[in-house]
Symmetry: C2
Subunit: 316 residues, 2 copies
Amino acid sequence: MRRSALVFAAACGLVPAFSAAQGPAKALQEKLGYPRDAKLLIVHADDLGMAHSVNAASIHALEIGGINSASLMVPCPWFPEIADYAKSHLAADFGLHLVLTSERVYYRWGPVAPRDKVSSLVDANGYFHHDWSAETRIDPKDAETEIRAQIARALAMGVKPTHLDSHQNRLFQTNKDLFEVILRVAHENNLPVLIPRNWFGDFPYLEKALGPNDVVIDRVITMAPGLPPAQWSAFYKKALEHLEPGVTEFVIHLAYADAEMKAATHERDTWGAEWRQRDFDFFSSVEFQKLLHDNQIHLITWREIARAMNPPAKTE
Amino acid sequence: MRRSALVFAAACGLVPAFSAAQGPAKALQEKLGYPRDAKLLIVHADDLGMAHSVNAASIHALEIGGINSASLMVPCPWFPEIADYAKSHLAADFGLHLVLTSERVYYRWGPVAPRDKVSSLVDANGYFHHDWSAETRIDPKDAETEIRAQIARALAMGVKPTHLDSHQNRLFQTNKDLFEVILRVAHENNLPVLIPRNWFGDFPYLEKALGPNDVVIDRVITMAPGLPPAQWSAFYKKALEHLEPGVTEFVIHLAYADAEMKAATHERDTWGAEWRQRDFDFFSSVEFQKLLHDNQIHLITWREIARAMNPPAKTE
């Protein structure tokens, strides 16, 4: 259904329509060939490659239609497992979840670039910083060196990313310089970046840095710390029942609450093993599929967005 | 019992006795304060830090007396978990299992040193080589840079190693130059190295490189590929029942055959998840404890060996 809609859109000349010079601005859903009131959703799992448990749960969810998009953490030790899957599932909508932090305590990773080339990103032991404080001085040049190295490793290992986003939103929600780094590298690689309009209020530099060809989706919806586990399903149910028209990305975090994941996240519950199991349970449920259907929500991926940005050349 | 034996040995002037000039050579067990016919055993688990499953099974075995010694892989992502355990269990006999390879397929790691400083050790994607072929040119200087970096990270993270050994025996069983690297670094750090006499036949450069103060144990006994799983216990039982006098190290590999370990080792059975579960099952058994007792085998650790090399100064 998604494919036929896109073919229809392309045939009608609806794609591309990113230039402001072409008249009244079209909403992204219209550029993708849907009516203005369409509710389009990307169900996106973060953190693939972080741990085997994350890979296993995310692949399972992908194969049963619980998610339709994901992004991969290149510096993490289980990246080869998910890269191998990506190479044999070329239609999967996999982006790169660019990583500049190693936020856990028992389980850590460091940069892909030689660490003496990205010294502001690493701690005294050579791992990415556990966290960035007000005193942590991140050199944007180091960030650029590192994300270029992550993209290069992904490409060398056979992954063809459809989009870029940023682990812990560090490249989006820190400062203008780091946002310009990901935007510049995305432009050079001709890839869309996750930029939702509902972040503009808190981070005004985002909108200011954008050019006319940058894709902006309408909103990211994601679980934030503080919600009692018993209200997990209700949160997503409400979000689906009240989804507004436009393009929304659900950013979710899947894993099984198994021994590996419990140990990897033992120091706090937020984005921990049980959190990820709850996400898995909801998005692999029949209830989720019914909510999509009952609320006329259409699933799209970054692959369609990228294709709309870069339409195939006309053959006549 | 081990402690009192050592105190007795020190009081009798039996320790140290490493100098050939002191008369007829004493066997290592005698230098440790035991009679010449004593059967001394180090039950040593390799690969701690490699995966959570390895850490969990090894810690369990350590705490129930199934093993009494182990070595840690500093470059691996779960090293922080076992380093944290080491810091809070200062009596544990933990050495460093120096790592120059990343032999698995879905789960990989790279050097601690900046990779552009150890370029002969890494593959095109920046991981340690999966394997070394006849064409792989390992620069001993790179190996030295890397193992110094591993020791420095371990010390910085609070681990005080009691000995050094080498993952996949690469530093022992490749060539003289690499053996001299680990020997030189061990001397500088005043640490004993795993050097068993039963390797001298296959690797004659080992014996030639040793100085008068290097400790040589009598033998390593370890499971080799090819034994049917049903004969696992019988192999270890026979080894214990026929253990010869002197100092023996059992080199074993513990983990649970859980989802993480199965995926980490999915490409082959050797040293895989089931292999490690079988090792765990035998060494955590009552049968193993009974075999130790019935065959009058005394457990010792590298801590005693190191102390015998470096006896406390006399107080009178």
